[in-house]
Amino acid sequence: MRIAADRILGVALIGLAALAAFNASQFEVLFSYEPVGPKAFPILLSAILAGLSLVLVFRPGENGQWPEKHVALRLLAVLAVLLVYAMLFTRLGFVITTFATVLLLARLFEASWQKALIAGALMSVGSYYLFTLGLGISLPTGLWLPSFN
């Protein structure tokens, strides 16, 4: 694990720059009133990006502190919770999904079940009424709460 993270990043960014430049070279303009067109600037950027990334590959900085395994697992869990929140947001409605999300996030941040449940209940219902009634934002409704939109 002694390959500097910066080196990997540098190589990845050079790849990205190449991809961006190649992609830009495919931009087809049917007719143009100006001399530059849509290709030049992205290609210029890709060149700068590749140049800077090359510096990173040859002169990587210090390796940052990366999370230990159990923290990394929790990070993935937080991301999974947020992803499921997004997937069910409109289907199940704001209140139920928010309740579950707050509950799980609070648990992942080491709240007790009791505190997490209270936080979930207060924050989901409270924010629903704050956003819909107070601020006039329409949120996906669940089946069991009256809508105020």
């Binding site: 830009a24 530059v36 950027l45 991301l79």
Partner: protein, 501 residues
Amino acid sequence: MFDFLIQGFDVALTPMNLGLAFMGALLGTLFGALPGIGPINGIAILMPLAYTLGLPAESALILLAGVYTGAEYGGRMSSILLNVPGDAGAVMTTLDGYPLAKKGLAGPALGLSAISSFVGATIAIIGLTLFAPLLAKVAVLFGPAEFFGLMVFAFASMSVMMGNDPVKTGIGAVLGVLVAMVGVDSGTGVMRYTMDMPELYDGIDFVVMIIGLFAISEILLMLEHAHNKNADDEMPPVGRVMVHLKEVMFSKWAMIRSGIIGFIVGVLPGTGASVAGAVSYTTEKRLSDKDNTFGTGDMRGLAAPEAGNNAAAVGSFVPMLTLGIPGSGTTAVLLGALMLYNITPGPMMFTERPEVAGGLIASLYIGNIVLLMLNLPLAGLFAKVLTIPRWALVPGIAILAFVGVYQLHSDLMAIYLMLVIGVVGYVLRKLGFSLAPIILGYVLGGLMEDNLRRALSISGGDTSILWQSGISIGLWIAAGMLLVAPFIMSKLLPGKSLTHT
């Protein structure tokens, strides 16, 4: 010549705008006090709300500017009480603020820093009032070529001043500009980097970008911090927030000097509160640290960075309002907010939209007084915010992020995009990137390309137009000098870095 200010006070003194300035100051102080939620996060969360509430541009700007300046006030709380800077601008505040709190002087330290913030901000607001209209007059002479040169200069000064790794700052800025390329090219109608997804035809939405990059990555970082607790979490008692006149007088020169330094640093495009805090602290240390008391709880060492970072926050409005070039990451976000309203800040704003420019400046005067009144007596109350546990804070941020992005277009795609950007932001932050250059690149990228293409259209493709006028030549030389300076400096002064922030 101060017509715009009179008109501005007319705008800022309407009950609604007064209320918004107050709200912004209050919320900003809270956002600044909460570790992890700095001014950019606060603005990112509130911006979509301001937009949906149908606030007119000047009112939205008054609210968001209040949040910005308020957050610079609030950032000092956790610096002083917990030794954890509440935002990037308050890093230097920990150096003398925390030792003061350890000595049992938390109350006076909070009071003195509030006054320093007020003095610094006041100096800078006066500077803004005087210089912005003048600069706007000069800026009228700017054509596309000059604007392009100015943006090159802004990126150069940002690379050198911001963060401690110029290469990563540069990469961040270029990545930001590339993100701005996504969508339909306005000049030709060509799709660029849309990956055939209709959701990307309009480009990556500004709110999605900001909330993903800052709020979502922050949630992930907070989880990590929760696991390495090495800072002692015990908060010293605040006690009565009382400052003796003697203490204020003792540090008055530190405040005034740092206010001026902070303003100048803020005006420079690309450098904001964190650089200003560092520069004003080191200057003050050099000038007045006769008995080596700096770092052990010297009142002047607390006053200097606080006056400096608040002055810089205000100063960074100068290039944003007059040139349309943000002076800091946060003003880049504000610039983006204005663009949502189809207002492009620039030299014409003082003549064409004086209610926006003047209203903002007038509201800064008002907000600054509100902030002093809030922060002196209520510092103890705000300090309570620091005891909000992460398990309650993080879900709150998540809800605000989701609602903020969802209500833009009632579109789930935007939420997924926000999550992806959040993960990228997290990885970049772990790799030592700061996010401000990315945002600056993202905000300026479109403008930069537009100006380049416009300039070359005028000249029929001849690139020499880019360095024809005196202004552009000056800007190119200044940019070049900025980029070369650190190398020369490191040759001359081995082992000494100027850019530690």
